[in-house]
């Protein structure tokens, strides 16, 4: 069993065979940095719990394609802030399947939004002048149909 410590002090136990779905953890174990426990200062407890839920499910139900598909669909039904936290954690822990799933989810969620809505979600400032923006929209009229 491997012990993981989140940034806010929560402790989690997980089987090594499950934990190594995270390439980051796998390398730490191989490099012998995992004597007592593995500190994960970039992931908070709530998010780490969710990530562990994902990798546990994907370890135990490995061959059940249908089951995993519906699990994944339910798994990403969280608020935006949590989803972004999971993306960052999946990136830090280097869990490819989880990163693909969450990034694809965000892409699917934003693809039909307006330009203004996307700016709001990612807190992006509009640095075009009204004339510049109008011209750009005109040049890309095909994208707004």
């Amino acid at each position: 069993m491997i012990v993981l410590n989140s940034s806010d002090g929560a402790t989690f136990e997980v089987e090594e065979s499950v934990a190594v779905q995270s390439q980051t953890i796998k390398h730490m174990i191989e490099d012998n940095c995992a004597d007592t426990s593995i500190p994960l200062p970039n992931v908070n407890g709530v998010t780490l719990a969710r990530v562990l839920e994902y990798i546990k499910k994907h370890a135990e139900a490995k061959d059940d394609e249908e089951g995993l598909k519906s699990f994944d669909a339910e798994f990403v039904k969280v608020d935006q802030a949590s989803l972004f936290e999971i993306i960052l954690a999946a990136n830090y822990l280097d869990i490819k399947g989880l990163l693909d799933l969450t990034c694809q989810t965000v892409a699917d969620q934003i693809k039909d939004l307006t330009v203004e809505e996307v700016r709001a979600i990612f807190n992006i400032m509009n640095d075009f002048t009204p004339e510049e923006e109008a011209k750009l929209r005109n040049d890309h009229a095909w994208a707004f149909e």
Binding site: Q80, L99, Q104, I110, W142, A143
Partner: protein
């Protein structure tokens, strides 16, 4: 609420944006200057293409104004996510520039680009012939300017259009087989034309009568290849897997592939076929190469039987 969400770093943002459909990529160029830079960057566009190349079917749909297909009226991309439904993610446009082309011929499409040839020169003798027969006012444009064939490379999604320099045209060349494809090693699109100097039915066929002209979009130059491995059926070349394919003339068992990277001809065995060989004489047999489900296929139509038969190859 946006204030509570953590900031997504650039590389993850790029990962997300690469997954967007083409229309969304275009739309989000208007979000901010950094987003415009990223989403217009050729490296991003190339990565996006590679990611989506094998998505469930994207179609390019072309509609013609009249029966003789003299004018193209509409070019549309349609995206189907399943075999019987169409997503609104496609783009449909009238292309005014294309509407003015006389005798447009769709050479082929590759990576979402379409190559259209305006065959002015070759069609001029046909116009003259019909002119005499029908009293001269059945064609809308009497003032066709004879000129070399012009090719246009079109991106039907963004409506961008590039005119290519015309090929070196030989007055003796009777007909052409055109093909269009992508050279992945040089990141170059190539337009090839197979031509023959003599009518193979009237005179004994000789492979030295045929030649291939290759145009590289990147270098914007034409190159001629004079030696062909054998006599080829002059018709549209089919692009698949980095090469353009033609059928060998009078030989059912051979397909010839022109590799766009090495610019060399390679023979390929034809399909194992249960179709009886052409009996000669009374009926026409038409053989054609097409792409079906990612594989090369040959259709055989015998005039007398009127039954198309298909074989799958490769």
């Amino acid at each position: 609420m946006a204030e509570l969400s953590p900031v997504i770093p650039q590389e993850l943002m790029t990962d997300i944006l690469l997954r967007l459909p083409v229309k969304s990529v275009g739309k989000f160029r208007c979000v901010s200057k950094p987003w415009r830079s990223l989403l217009s960057d050729p490296l991003f566009i190339k990565a996006h293409l590679n990611l989506h190349l094998h998505d469930p079917q994207n179609f390019i749909f072309i509609s013609f104004k009249d029966y003789n297909a003299l004018r193209i009226t509409n070019l549309a991309t349609i995206i189907s996510t399943s075999s019987d439904s169409f997503d609104n993610a496609g783009v449909s446009r009238k292309l005014p520039l294309l509407e003015n082309l006389l005798y447009p011929k769709i050479v082929g499409s590759c990576n979402g680009l379409v190559l259209v040839l305006e065959e002015r020169l070759r069609k001029n003798w046909m116009v003259l012939f019909l002119d005499v027969g029908l009293g001269g006012d059945s064609f809308p444009d009497k003032e066709q300017v004879p000129g070399p064939d012009t090719a246009y490379l079109i991106n039907p999604t963004t409506m961008e259009l590039v005119k290519l320099p015309s090929r070196p045209y030989s007055w003796e060349a009777l007909n052409n087989g055109d093909g269009f494809g992508y050279d992945s090693s040089n990141d170059d699109y190539k337009f090839v034309t197979l031509s023959r100097n003599h009518d193979p039915v009237a005179e004994p066929a000789s492979s030295s009568d045929a030649f291939l002209d290759v145009f590289s979009v990147k270098s914007r130059t034409w190159k001629r290849i004079d030696s062909l491995p054998c006599d080829l059926q002059i018709g549209p070349g089919v692009w698949l897997n980095g090469a353009i394919h033609w059928l060998a003339l009078f030989d059912d068992s051979l397909i010839v592939a022109f590799d766009l990277i090495s610019e060399e001809f390679k023979p390929l065995p034809g399909p194992n076929t249960t179709i009886p060989p052409h009996q000669g004489g009374s009926y026409f047999r038409t053989r054609k190469l097409v792409v079906l489900g990612g594989c090369l296929a040959m259709t055989v139509v015998d005039d007398q039987e009127n039954l198309p038969r298909h074989e799958i190859d490769i």
